[in-house]
């Protein structure tokens, strides 16, 4: 009996082109769009758009602006000779992420510790607050690596002013050294004064930031559409009630329990195929390492599909009409997906919303997928997400069975 229900569901889906497209094509399309957006927005490939106005225009400030133009992390916008007001306008419009004004009425660049206004003014849009420290870092780097003579000269002046007075010979040696530094910098020699030697980098999660983002959104989009397609499939029980098919079946030896089980089986299989399509596309188009993680992916996908099937069947069997079920499902899925990280990663959310996310199947499924494809964690770290998903599915299925009994006899 369960097999007959399963077969009816499969054939109905195969014959319904619109449902097929909604189930398998649309999610894949969504994933490709999200992947294209976020694989190019990983931070490493992002260039900070900067509008620069140089009110001073002397040799030192020109060298600094030139060094910033050469920085691959920055993209100068608005042209070469901007007035301060133009810089402010470009930032306000969003054309520039951040602005930099080299002030004329301030301490000079080669003088540290003065009491006047700072020589550099950063113009920021509060929405893009992260751009400020990024620009500060790049300016400091340029200051020390492209203008080492200026930077160290001002440090020497500061030391001489506050700690020790150099004699003439020492001052001459320092002046020669600073001149050498300037020459080397102008010749493009690698300068230790950018302090790059302080740092080494070790990546501990995934293959690359772009890949991690793609893997994340494969899971995020998959779970979002898994919920939608599961509800769509489960709602067939209401259609069968309205069309008399349930009456026919239950008048004979048919039982609601078998019908619910058949539908649950179909929804799990449909979910696995649907998520499979998305990850296979992620593998083919974006090199998501699916072949290297098939067993863990499979268990996660089955667990997520079980959870979605349970939830969808509860919605379908608690509601009396198709419209009621669709409305409830749409609202519930959008809320679950927003809180659960299917729309925006949870680490962008405030702590309270992050905590609420643990109540959603999206979060547990995404925890598992990111653990597999992003953090490359062992199976033991996946036990909790798997358990939570399966428990959600089993509880949902149990509630659905209880609700289904009222259709059987009244």
């Amino acid at each position: 009996m369960t097999r007959a229900v399963f077969r009816a569901m499969v054939l109905s889906l195969i014959r319904d082109r619109a449902a097929l497209a909604m189930t398998f094509v649309l999610p894949a399309l969504f994933f490709l769009i999200f992947a294209a957006i976020f694989s190019g927005a990983t931070g490493e490939q992002l260039r900070l758009k900067v509008a620069v106005a140089d009110e001073v225009g002397d040799e030192t400030t020109t060298r600094l602006v030139s060094a910033l133009e050469d920085d691959p992390a920055l993209l100068r916008v608005g042209g070469g000779e901007l007035a301060p007001e133009e810089v402010r306008r470009l930032v306000r419009k969003g054309t520039a992420d951040v602005g930099l004004i080299v002030r004329a009425d301030a301490e000079p660049l080669d003088s540290l510790g003065g009491f006047g206004p700072a020589p550099l003014l950063i113009v920021a849009d509060p929405v893009r607050g992260v751009a400020v420290p990024m620009l500060k870092g790049q300016v400091q780097k340029a200051y020390f690596s492209a203008l080492p003579d200026v930077a160290l000269g001002s440090v020497v002046a500061l030391v001489e002013d506050q700690f020790v007075e150099f004699d003439d010979d020492q001052s001459e040696d320092i002046a020669d050294g600073l001149a050498d530094l300037r020459r080397e910098a102008e010749e493009g020699a690698t300068s230790p004064w950018g302090f790059d030697d302080l740092f080494e980098r070790e990546d501990v999660a995934g293959q690359s930031a772009a890949m991690n983002h793609v893997a994340y959104y494969a899971g995020a989009v998959a779970v979002l559409f898994l919920l939608f397609s599961s509800v769509h499939g489960a709602i067939s029980v209401i259609e069968e009630k309205d069309s008399g098919i349930l009456d026919r079946t239950l008048a004979g030896p048919g039982r609601m329990s078998a019908i619910v089980n058949g539908k649950a089986l179909f929804l799990v299989v449909q979910g696995v195929v649907q998520i499979g399509v998305i990850f296979v596309i992620g593998w083919i188009v974006h090199d998501v390492d699916l072949p290297g993680h098939v067993p863990l992916w499979a268990v996660t996908t089955v667990a997520a599909s079980v959870a979605a099937a349970g939830i969808a069947l509860v919605v379908a069997l608690v509601c009396r009409t198709k419209r009621q079920a669709q409305t409830l499902a749409n609202v519930a899925i959008l809320i679950l997906s927003a809180l659960g990280g299917s729309m925006v990663p949870r680490f962008f959310m405030p702590p309270l919303l992050q905590k609420l996310g643990w109540l959603t199947p999206n979060t547990w499924a995404l925890e598992a997928y990111t653990a597999i494809f992003w953090r490359d964690e062992p199976a033991t770290s996946l036990l909790l997400p798997w358990a939570m998903l399966v428990v959600a599915g089993v509880v949902g299925l149990w509630i659905a069975q209880v609700a289904a009994r009222r259709l059987e006899i009244s």
Binding site: A8, R15, I245, R248, A251, P253, G254
Partner: protein
Amino acid sequence: MSASDSDSGSAGPSSPASQSVLEVRGARRSFGEREALCGVDLDLVPGSIYGLLGPNGAGKTTLLRSICGRLSLDSGTVRLSGENPVGNPEVRRSLGFVPQEIALYPDLTARENLEIFGGLTGLSRSEARETAGRLLTRIQLAQRAGDPVHTLSGGMKRRLNIAAGVVHRPSVLLLDEPTVGVDPSAREGLHDLLRELRNDGLAILLTTHDLDQAAELADVIGVLIDGRIHAQGSLDELLRQVFDGGKEVVVTLGEEPTAAARSRLLEDGFEPTRLGDVWTGRLRGKLSDLSAIGGQLEEAGLAVAEVRVREPSLRGVFFHFAGRDIDR
């Protein structure tokens, strides 16, 4: 069949209850204050069609749902081959049900539908496939077996709808208004199919408010009004019970009779009833009785707009028990 709550009490069974494959005894069911079934008794024997005739709201669907075990009774019993079908799927294996709606999967082919309903009733894949092929030939849809249901004509869908109810070879088939919205030629085809199924030995309970269908198809007709079976028997038995070999005389009055006139007319077996703008009533008896009524009408000063004399019909039987036409 046996009758209970019959106003005459004379409509006895034409087949012994011991042959019944379906027995309903004293079935009562209320929804709040409203009594949907008021002690219904009914027997169904193999190889017969029972036409349960009743207007909308008479309790037909409630009775069918009770027989299917989908609705618990407040009191009374339903026995299917001697067993209670409520909560007993194995007993219900001998029951087939054809809802009023086209209860089929519209995107699946005719064959797939029959195979799936076979599977839903516990047939193995091979049994379902073999039975589906046989039934498709029988309902003359073998040529369209591979077509999706939504491409079939209304009559074809109705035939398939019935076939899906018998795919597991039940001994009792319940049909809820099986020809609603069907054109006359398709309807004739459906009647032929039902007769064939009856001749195969199937016991068929057919609910309808179509008098012609009941008269044409049913071996036994039960008149269900307001949850009560007022009479049951063959068409001849019902006509004899109501008209006693006489004619049906329909008198239409030209004006509304006074209460006193109505009371006097009632003594002569004529109860005028308002039907829209006119008052009409039926008489059973001989043509000669007309003169007595004519005298009463004259004495009451009532104008007669029309007098029709015709052979007794099921419409008259229903009017006799319900005091109104079935479609009103």
